[in-house]
């Protein structure tokens, strides 16, 4: 039973389209994240949600909007897709430690987005 799952695994779309990537975790974790792995293979945090509230919002275009309907789900909506959005997007989750510290994160398999 997959702990952190993402759909779809592959997404190919035209420039200008709007698309969504879904993420679900069945670990009972409090915090969920979206990361982007760019062409240089860097993994960079985009968003962090704790109990349905936005905690971290790194400098990403406002075309990207996370939506958390409940603690187990964090979806990523992308409007007006651009060529530079092509990347692998990873969802992750973690259980906050005492004091709210974030430590180990568990990752989904990734969604490879290709914008043509």
């Amino acid at each position: 039973d997959t702990a952190v799952s993402q759909t779809p695994k592959y997404l190919v779309t035209q420039m200008g389209n709007d698309k969504s990537i879904k993420c679900e975790q069945n670990l009972g974790h409090d915090t969920m994240y979206w990361y982007k792995q760019d062409s240089k293979k860097f993994l960079k945090i985009m968003f962090s949600y704790n109990n349905k509230e936005l905690i971290i919002n790194e400098t990403v275009p406002n075309r990207f909007s996370p939506k958390s309907p409940d603690k187990a789900h964090l979806n990523l909506h992308i409007n007006s897709l651009e060529l530079g959005d092509s990347a692998v997007y990873f969802c992750a989750s973690s259980q906050d430690r005492a004091g709210g510290l974030v430590r180990e994160q568990f990752f989904g398999p990734g969604t490879r987005l290709t914008v043509l």
């Binding site: 994240y33 293979k41 905690i55 971290i56 004091g99 430590r103 180990e104 990752f107 398999p109 990734g110």
Partner: protein, 110 residues
């Protein structure tokens, strides 16, 4: 500004030998460090971690060493096995988020 750096993009080691992967960081606010392993078309998998109050943590074939004064950590894998071939990411935490290095591709040769 890359706060966590893995300066070796790739490493090749013979099966049975020791693999040593290195990582440097610049932010002294980091107090927890992790290593992740990633296979192609999969997400990173947590491997081992170390708190800044320690200088060594061991788990089976995997040992992580932390040198706070040098802001350097390393992952030792001994003995190396073919299944260890993967990309290894080091990550550092300030309690709020993780910052990842760019990864080192480890290849174990038979």
């Amino acid at each position: 500004d890359q706060q966590v750096k893995q300066n070796s993009p790739s490493l090749s080691v013979q099966e049975g030998r020791i693999s040593i992967l290195n990582c440097d960081y610049t932010n002294s606010m980091f107090d927890y460090f992790l290593w992740y392993k990633k296979y192609p078309a999969e997400g990173p998998t947590f491997l081992i971690s170390i708190s800044s109050i320690k200088d060594k943590n061991e788990d089976g074939r995997f040992t992580v060493f932390l040198n706070k004064s040098a802001k350097h950590l390393s992952l030792h894998i001994v003995p190396s096995q073919p299944g260890d071939s993967a990309v290894y990411f080091c990550a550092a935490s300030d309690g709020v988020s993780l910052v990842f290095g760019q990864g080192t591709r480890l290849t174990i040769n038979p």
